[in-house]
């Protein structure tokens, strides 16, 4: 390893570390789960509720699970199951997407909700 290698490595480790800190500071615990299929809102729920809902996607059904303040997809009609393999989300702004079903699950915080309501 040359000196430049070590400098680069040190810089990247520092950058990675600070990105974790930055993201933690900027994101907040989410409160509402929004489910959009093909751009239109299909379902809305509180993140703290315990629910298991079947959503009709563009090419099949998806089973949405909200448990212990986290949302995930437990089953879906899609070829790659990328959405099912994604780890559960809980923070505001996080997304789970199922592209074949054109479905997007987004977590929104309470302040976002109010801002959305005011600005339409």
């Amino acid at each position: 390893m040359t000196i430049a290698d070590k400098v680069l490595l040190a810089f990247l480790v520092a950058a990675t570390f600070s990105s974790y800190v930055l993201v933690e500071r900027v994101t907040t615990q989410g409160s509402v789960v929004l489910v959009e299929v093909d751009g239109e809102l299909r379902y809305k729920a509180d993140l703290q509720s315990d629910a298991s809902v079947i959503i009709q996607g563009a090419s099949g059904k998806l089973t949405l699970q909200i448990r212990e303040g986290r949302v995930s997809i437990s089953e879906a009609d899609c070829p790659n199951h990328i959405c099912v393999r994604t780890s559960p989300k809980s923070r505001s702004g996080e997304l789970i997407v199922c592209a074949p079903n054109k479905t997007m699950i987004q977590i929104v915080g309470q302040t976002d909700e109010k801002i959305r309501a005011v600005t339409g």
Binding site: M1, T2, A4, D5, L8, L9, L12, V13, A15, T16, S19, Y20, V23, T27, N80, I82, R85, T86, S87, R91, G93, E94, L95, V97, Q106
Partner: protein, 178 residues
């Protein structure tokens, strides 16, 4: 890393590059089968072939191998001509470009580790930028940056280690008259 030629003839060069491209394709397909919590969080093992090509054959050889690997790999994993193919292609070419630039600074500047890290970080950030420009047009995906940077770091170091071993082995190849 002295830039000594590793090939004996043009045929040897072409077949060695083909071998390296095949290694890249195999690693790429292998990686796409491994399930991960966030599926696009790859370690980028296929970059071993890109890096080895760069060091042994220069940026011309590397670009040949990278483009071949991306096309064939996408074809085999079924993502050719899909939107995610564009993302992968732009990330691959961008990271190859920055690796070539890092390499051009000379062997005394960046070693294999540095070039590999430059490549993996470029790859990961270009992927994110491509997805954010083409698909999800808001800042929500930025929360992924820490995870992406971590995988770029780990992947970059792993690729550097594997590549340097492979370069050593390939350089020791006996030079008999064909």
């Amino acid at each position: 890393m002295p830039p000594e030629p590793v090939y004996r003839s043009e045929i040897h060069r072409i077949t060695t590059l083909a071998f390296l491209a095949a290694v890249g394709i195999a690693l790429y397909v292998l990686e796409s089968i491994i399930p991960l919590p966030l599926p696009f969080l790859k370690i980028g093992l296929a970059n071993v072939s890109s890096l080895v090509s760069l060091v042994l054959f220069g940026k011309g050889g590397m670009f040949t191998v990278v483009v071949t690997r991306i096309l064939a790999g996408s074809f085999l994993t079924g993502s050719l001509f899909t939107p995610s193919f564009l993302v992968g292609l732009s990330a691959g070419i961008a990271s190859a470009g920055t690796m070539a630039a890092a390499h051009a600074l000379g062997p005394r500047f960046f070693g294999v580790t540095g070039i590999s890290l430059v490549g993996s970080v470029t790859h990961v950030l270009t992927q994110l930028a491509a997805v954010m420009t083409m698909f999800v047009r808001n800042e929500s995906l930025l929360v992924l940056v820490p995870l992406l940077l971590t995988s770029a770091l780990v992947g970059g170091l792993l690729v550097a280690w594997l590549s340097s071993r492979m370069i050593l082995i390939m350089r020791k190849e006996p030079r008999s008259e064909a």
